[in-house]
C-alpha cells in the first residue's frame, strides 16, 4: 500500500516536471491586480505576491528539483564509482592517496562545502549541480571501494585475470555489475539528499534565482508573507516533503530487500 503511494508520488513528480515544458514562461507572468489571492477556482493553489499562480510555479519547481536531483546523482555516482573501483582494484599507493582524499572530504561538513562553492561560483542551476557533485561523489567512492575490495579476490575475477582479460573489461563486466544493487540504494537516498540540498541552497539565495522557480526560493519568498498568505509556504513545503518522504521510503524498501539476513529473519 505504502509502496504504491510512494511510487505514485514519484510518478506525479516526474509528470509535473514534464508538464513544466508545456507551461513554460506563462507561470512567471506578473499580474499585480491579483496578488496574494487565496486558493480558488481561478488559481487552484492561489497566487503569490506578484500575482503568479502558485500551482504552475510548483510544477516549474518540480522540473528544477528533478533536473538537479538526476544531474547530481548521475554525475556523483559515475565519478565516485569510477574512483572507488579503480582505487580498490589498483591498491598500493594509489589506493592510499585516494583513501586520504576521501577522508578529507568526509571530514568537511558537506552542506557547508556546497554553500561555500555555490557562494563562490555564483547562483545558477548548473553551479548548484556542480557544488552538490563535488560534495556527493565521496559517498559512492567509499561504498564502491569497500565493495570492490571484497570482490577483488573472488574466483570469477581471478579466472578472468588468468585468462588475460584486460583490466578495464574485468572492471566493467565482472566488478561493476555486482556493485549496482548497493549503489542503487545509495543513489536513491542521494536523490532525496539532492532535492533537499537544492531547495536549501535556493532558500539561502545561493541556488536557483528569481524569476526561475524552485521550491526552496518559493518558501524563502513566502516566509515574508507568512501571516497574510500561509499557502505560499505551505504548498511548496508539502510538495518538497512528499517527494523526499516517498524517495526515502523507496530507499528503505530496497535496502531491506537487499539485506538477505534481515529478509530471512522476517520470514
Amino acid at each position: 500500500m505504502l509502496r504504491y503511494v510512494s511510487y505514485s508520488i514519484i510518478l506525479i513528480w516526474v509528470l509535473m516536471a514534464a508538464l513544466g515544458f508545456w507551461i513554460g514562461d506563462q507561470a512567471n507572468e506578473v499580474m499585480l491586480t491579483q496578488f496574494l489571492q487565496p486558493p480558488d477556482t481561478q488559481a487552484l493553489l492561489g497566487t503569490d505576491q506578484l500575482g503568479r499562480p502558485v500551482l504552475e510555479r510548483i510544477v516549474l519547481g518540480a522540473q528544477t528539483s528533478l533536473f538537479v536531483a538526476v544531474g547530481v546523482v548521475f554525475f556523483s555516482a559515475i565519478i565516485g564509482t569510477s574512483i572507488g573501483v579503480y582505487s580498490a582494484y589498483a591498491g598500493g599507493w594509489t589506493d592510499r592517496i585516494i583513501t586520504k582524499v576521501i577522508d578529507v572530504f568526509l571530514a568537511f561538513p558537506g552542506l557547508l562545502l556546497a554553500i561555500a562553492l555555490a557562494a563562490i561560483l555564483g547562483p545558477g542551476i548548473e553551479n548548484v549541480v556542480f557544488a552538490l557533485v563535488v560534495v556527493g561523489w565521496v559517498g559512492y567512492a567509499r561504498l564502491a571501494r569497500a565493495q570492490t575490495l571484497s570482490l577483488r579476490s573472488r574466483e570469477h575475477i581471478l579466472a578472468a585475470r588468468t585468462l588475460a582479460i584486460p583490466t578495464w573489461l574485468i572492471l566493467f563486466r565482472h566488478v561493476v555489475p555486482l556493485l549496482l544493487a548497493p549503489l542503487g540504494v545509495e543513489a536513491t537516498f542521494g536523490i532525496a539528499g539532492a532535492v533537499i540540498s537544492e531547495a536549501g541552497l535556493s532558500f539561502l539565495g545561493l541556488g536557483v534565482q528569481a524569476p526561475d522557480s524552485s521550491w526552496g526560493n518559493m518558501i524563502k519568498e513566502g516566509t515574508r508573507y507568512l501571516l497574510v498568505a500561509p499557502h505560499l509556504v505551505l504548498a511548496p513545503g508539502i510538495a518538497l516533503m512528499l517527494v523526499v518522504l516517498a524517495v526515502n521510503l523507496i530507499g528503505d524498501q530496497w535496502r531491506d530487500h537487499l539485506d538477505v539476513k534481515a529478509r530471512h529473519n522476517r520470514g
Partner: protein, 307 residues
Amino acid sequence: MIAYLLRLLGSVIFVSWIVGTLVFFLIHLVPGDPVAVMLGDWANTADENALRAQLGLDQPILMQYLHYLQGLVQLDLGQSLFFQQDVSSLIAERFPMTLQLALMALAIAVLIAFPLGIWAALRAGLWPDHLSMSVSLLGVSIPNFWLGPMLILFFSLFLGWFPVSGADQDYSWVLPAITLGTALAAILARMLRASLLEVMHEDYIRTAKAKGLSGRLVYGRHALMNALLPVVTILGLQLGTLLGGAVITEVVFDWPGLGQLLVESIQRRDYPVVQACILVISVAYITVNGLTELVYAWLDPRIRIRK
C-alpha cells in the same frame, strides 16, 4: 593511550590545515576579481589598486598564502570589509550563539530519540515500532527551512507562546533548537532501534535473562549500554550536519550566530569573513569528530587495544 591521543591530535591538526588551505585557494583562485565586485562597476582603477594593496591582493599568491597561515597561527583572521572590525572578534561574538543553539538542539534530539528508539526496539514489529519509525521518517524528510516557518506560524503567531525571531527575548532559543533537533532526533532514533535489536540477539542478553535479572537491568544495563556504541559515533558525525543545518536554521529565525554571519557576508561579498566562518565551522566539526573517536575508544576497549 597517550600515543593514541597524540595521533588523534595530529590528525585533527592535519585535516584542519588541509581544509584551511582548500578554503584559501577556493576563494583566491576562482575566476572573478573580488575587488571589482566589492567596489562595483563605477570604481576607478586607482581606488581598486588601493584596496587591492590594502588587502594584500597585489602580492603573489604564495606570499598571500604564507601570510594567511602566519595569521592563522596567531589567531588573526584578518579585517572585515564591512564591519571595520577584526574578523576574530566578530567570530568570538557569534560563535557562542551557534554553540548554544547546537547544544540545545542536541539535548532536544537526545530527549526525543531515546524514548522513541527504545520503545520501538522493545515492541519491534508491533504498532509502536511502526508508529515511531514513521514519525522518525517524517522527521528526516521535513527540511528545516520549512519546519521553521511552520513552527513560527503555529507557536509564535497562532498560539503566541514564543518570539518569532532574534535572540533577545527569553525562550527565543526554543523554536530554532526544536527545528534543528528534530532531524537529528529522527536519525538517532532509527539508529538506536537498529542497534538495540542487534544487541538483543546476543548471547550475553540470553545469559542475563537466564540468570533471572529484572527486565530493567537486562535492557537498561546490558542491552542499552552495548547498543550505545554505534549511536555515539552517529551522534558525533551528525553534529557536523547540525552545524551545516544551523546555517539554514539561523537564517530562518534570524539567530545571530556564525551561520547567519556566513550567509550575510556572502551577500555582502565580505570575503575575509566568509573564509573565516567556513574555516571555524569546519575546524569545530573536525574537532567534534576527533572527540567522538576519543569517547568511542574510551567506551570500547577493543579499539584502544587494537590501535
